[in-house]
Symmetry: C2
DNA sequence: GTCAATGCAAACGCTTTGCACCTTG
DNA sequence: CAAGGTGCAAAGCGTTTGCATTGAC
């Protein structure tokens, strides 16, 4: 994982920002939980289960920083809090999510859905699309019955 | 507009709910602003510009009721407050929105984007899709330059 | 040593809720 | 007149911010 930590260090240096323990801890946390979508509170309590002390305000400030830097992605799954996920290299556009309306499970969709449609829409509406968010609601295989 | 008001009355009766002045005013307001996406505060202040007095809590409670009843649709355009819009008859699935990242304009998209893709995804992920939300971010024709 | 980062607590902004009063059916 | 609806003010809740202190470079 050493090389990945250096990656954080580099991104921070690029912007003249400091490499602090808190930022390292939060980044490590995302590396260890790449499949999850965690809220600020969840991140805080998980990190505190480890060894480190950290303030909630710092969590929020760091999440904002990482989001702006493109290290993580912020999601809204309609549960009243923002959720965050490490941005992977092959996320050119963001991937999409299936949201189970019964159990709340979030399933990632990596098919690229929208390329064709975006072109159609750009022509039809004279609008230049830079990003899109697709959320698909329904019932997952366990909850279908 | 009389027949449309009766429509509200009917929907309320179905559920054993009362037809009050406040509910009528809010419904009328949506009928008069079918193209807009209004927040609770905006609805309140517009209604108060008319003649009627109404409390903000009532606005919220009514918006929730209308949303549950399928009279209106609740949207999130990432500006920290929910926005509401009358649900039109041809909204089988919700329509979608282009969001200009420069001027904030919201443009409605009525192309049905997702029918094909939904089928693909349902097979691929064994997930039964009941609804979807698509938000497309970018630059509108006025802001493209 | 300087400037950014942190932690705490207070503030914020939207939304929800408890409760006494009012209105619809 | 009974049950639901309203208005007010207070509370809730996630998130942000001011400020004094701490820590990285």
């Amino acid at each position: 994982m050493g090389n990945k930590k250096n990656l954080l260090n580099e991104k921070l240096k690029e912007k003249g920002l400091k490499f602090t323990n808190q930022r390292k801890d939060i980044y490590d946390f995302f590396l260890k939980n790449q499949d999850k979508h965690m809220s600020a509170e969840e991140i805080l309590s998980e990190i505190e289960k480890g060894n480190s002390e950290i303030g909630l305000a710092t969590i929020y400030r760091t999440l904002q920083l990482f989001t702006d830097t493109g290290i993580i992605v912020k999601h809204d799954f309609d549960d009243g809090r923002s959720r965050y996920e490490l941005k992977t290299d092959n996320d050119v556009h963001n991937h999409h999510h299936l949201i189970c309306q019964v159990c709340g499970k979030i399933i990632e969709v990596n098919m690229d859905l929208m390329d064709e449609l975006e072109k159609e829409i750009e022509d039809e509406y004279d609008f230049e699309i830079t990003n899109h968010i697709v959320k698909l609601y329904g019932h997952c295989k366990d909850c279908k019955k």
